[in-house]
Symmetry: C2
Subunit: 199 residues, 2 copies
């Protein structure tokens, strides 16, 4: 991008490193930095550095945390008797966002994927077994994605927890709210029929 | 965005202030910050602050600059006898990017727009007249956008420079390279025919 002063070219280059941000978008972001108050941009710079300084992994559930425990594990009002197993923190955020769950989580940081060299040891599975073996857990809801790897991981979790006697459940598969039946893929439709419920 | 630790929510909020960045994209950018090396993110934070500290306006052409003069006005190999008048620095960058111009610039920082309260006094027009009156300028190319305001501004510049005897030109209007004639708007097509040239 000739024509811009050096410091703006530098900033455009830094913004371009972000995924999905091309040079044009980076230039638009840099232009916003240029016309924003300096105090706002200091707050942005500090917010970036703070994330790098503060974020660690919860020692219980492996969610993102700023202290030894994450906000959910610290929260006394969450039900510790039910653990929702997710692949990653994005899934956790989506479930929290739904407001439909008041238990705790266990973040695997991946799913079984032999092709990528990810076996049971690469996931937080033995930690899960240890948590459940403590005795106070009633149910484990496996909320891995509805993919081949997600289903395989769910089956493995079921098998690993068999000896504990805990109830292992799986999130429901079916037609999404607001979806139009004519655009639903056949696999989902077959599952929606298979798992039909009384009204 | 519940479920994220505070410092990540803060960063998502700061990123969301950027134009065209929604909450989902902001969360994606924050996730990139989270998984990037701390040194990379310090470089980004510094690049942001540096733009706020260093960028000023060139005292000759009103382009963005890090010193008293912008890089173009400082460059001895640029032809000071020809001045290209642009609405904003985005236009300047587009022209530099084309590689088709080796003169200097004059950035108006706007165009005439009585509806928005922008008259000749709000633009850098008297500065332009002063520059041209110096005597060493041969030609002023008006590269305002091909809009009603851009054309009006071009005509006003022509009138304001009449007494100086300098040649005032306008960038060519016509069919864009690679454009398909059947998709060209009628105004552009009419101009392309009006301004036809010998082959």
């Amino acid at each position: 991008m000739p024509g811009y002063p050096l410091s703006i070219r530098n900033l455009i280059r830094e913004f371009s490193r972000f995924p999905g941000i091309g040079e044009k978008t980076a230039a638009r972001l840099a232009a916003f930095v240029l016309r924003s108050p300096a105090t706002d941009m200091m707050r942005l710079a500090e917010a970036i550095l703070e994330v790098k300084e503060k974020i660690k992994i919860c020692s219980v559930c492996f969610n993102l945390a700023e202290r030894e425990l994450c906000e959910i594990c610290e929260n006394e009002s969450r039900d510790r008797g039910i653990i929702c197993v997710v692949e990653d923190t994005d899934s956790l955020v989506a479930i929290e966002d739904s407001g439909g769950f008041n238990g705790t989580y266990h973040v695997l940081h991946g799913v079984l994927s032999p092709a990528d060299g990810i076996g049971p040891e690469q996931l937080r599975l033995s930690d899960l077994v240890r948590r459940v073996s403590g005795g106070s857990v009633r149910e484990v809801v496996v909320a891995t994605n509805p993919s081949v790897q997600g289903e395989t991981t769910a089956l493995l979790i079921k098998r690993m927890l068999d000896h504990t006697g805990v109830v292992v459940t799986r999130i429901a598969l079916g037609v999404p709210m607001g979806g139009d039946l004519k655009y639903i893929d056949r696999m989902t439709m077959a599952k929606a029929i298979e798992f039909r419920r009384g009204v």
